[in-house]
Amino acid sequence: MSIDSIAVRVAAIEPVAPLIREFRLEAVEGGLPPFSPGSHIQVAMPGEVREIRNAYSLCSDPADTTGYTIAVRLQENSRGGSQFMHTRVRVGDRLSITPPANFFAPVWQARKHLLVAGGVGITPFISYLHELERQNAEFELHHLYRGTQTGAYCARLQQLGTKYFGYDSDNEVFCDLNQLLSNREPGTHVYICGPEPLIEGVCATARELGWPDSLIHYEAFAAPEPGEPFKAQLARSGKAVEVGSDESLLEALEREGVTVPNLCRGGVCGQCATQVVDGAVEHRDDFLSADEKASGTCIMPCVSRAAGNHLTLDL
């Protein structure tokens, strides 16, 4: 499978929070494909050592195909992507993106949508808001952030009136998840986007309150964490690929010209699933089931690594 790439020009850059910048991207030629709320794109950045590819949620109006907007939070331990976007990218620059894909679409059968955003996790919900308002859907947006770092879009979100609930932890305003999830009626779906502890907290509280799993939706994009270097032996091509501590297995394979289909680059979508022939895997993805992980026959190279110093892959 090959992913088409679209050449875009950076049309505008705007700081929307102390650590978050918003980029408007427009096609170099023609328009851009329409997308559904919750979609993301991959942005390819020409880094110094290697090409960096990061997935970002689209936060513009899905009906607007003249341009896409993404919001990028500067990560303290940036692997290069967010730093590149914040320090190197200028208005007028060209970048390459993939067409939108969506693993986090609203469930339109829902009677009420309960959106829970943590920090820059607000981004997919910005695209939701356009569509929810257009469809006159019932919703509440609960926005947990740190005013000194990530409180993006607050002015715009205030306009939602009683549908908006802001919690600025720098101002000692916290969200009581138990209260948030109690006394909800059938047909209420909850969506979470934000840091892992928030996702886990909401999921755990909801399950304790008896929420069925199919009413709980989350997007846990996580950039690959660094790890110990290891060697990947490719059984079919005979190649050997050294994986550095600060790059993912997928990035190392791409560096060596080995193509693996991929979409989210964050351990969520399952596209890059690769057969493991030999070696132990340290699973870090959110896609494989516990049983599949235990069997050790499959790896998501976008985030997972070798548990030892080598892996043999069916590539």
Partner: protein, 186 residues
């Protein structure tokens, strides 16, 4: 790899099990299937459980309307309107009844994960004629003469959840005089 010979759309049923984390346990049955749910109902905390039975005036809010499916459906909608999100629904009865209740519950905002359908009390099928859209109840043999258009219908295993019915297609479209042998549906 083993290829499953059964048709994918044909539902598979399992004996319901109580979901302990639920805040409202809702039981709905036809009289003939009462025994399939009663023991589960009796295990629940009295204030967290509710029993609805077709034709049982005591179990419904309104004695008069409970005797029909429409009355039961109205009662179910009222119950679900103020129900917690942690509601679980257990349904037992004929196959068509199971799916009618399930569709009512979906309309009230429930998802399939919240609904358990017990194995149907009989093999009788609701049949949907793909030619004239007539629905027939209690079909036990195939082919079956359509009560709407008179065509002789092959009763397929293909199941439509929206109708709670199996699909019927004319068995002798090439030669309407042909009368294939009738067999009992499994």
């Amino acid at each position: 790899m083993q290829i499953d010979p059964s048709i994918k759309s044909r539902p598979k049923y399992q004996v319901p099990v109580l979901v302990g984390s639920a805040r409202l346990q809702l039981f709905i049955c036809e009289p003939a299937a009462r025994d399939q749910l009663m023991s589960l109902h009796q295990q629940c905390e009295p204030e967290q459980t509710y029993w609805l039975e077709v034709g049982d005036p005591v179990a419904c809010d309104s004695a008069a309307e409970s005797c029909t499916f429409e009355g039961l459906a109205a009662c179910l909608q009222r119950r679900l309107a103020g129900a917690p999100v942690a509601t679980r629904l257990y349904v037992a009865g004929s196959e068509a009844f199971l799916w009618d209740v399930r569709n009512q519950a979906l309309a009230a905002g429930l998802v399939d994960e919240q609904i358990q359908l017990a194995p149907p009390v009989s093999r009788a099928r609701r049949l949907f004629c793909t030619h004239c859209y007539t629905r027939m109840e209690g079909v036990e043999t195939s082919p079956h003469r359509c009560s709407g258009c008179g065509r002789l219908l092959l009763v397929r295993d293909h199941f439509a959840r929206l109708h709670g019915a199996y699909v019927g297609v004319q068995i002798n479209a090439e030669d309407p005089n042909e009368q294939p042998e009738q067999e009992v549906l499994q």
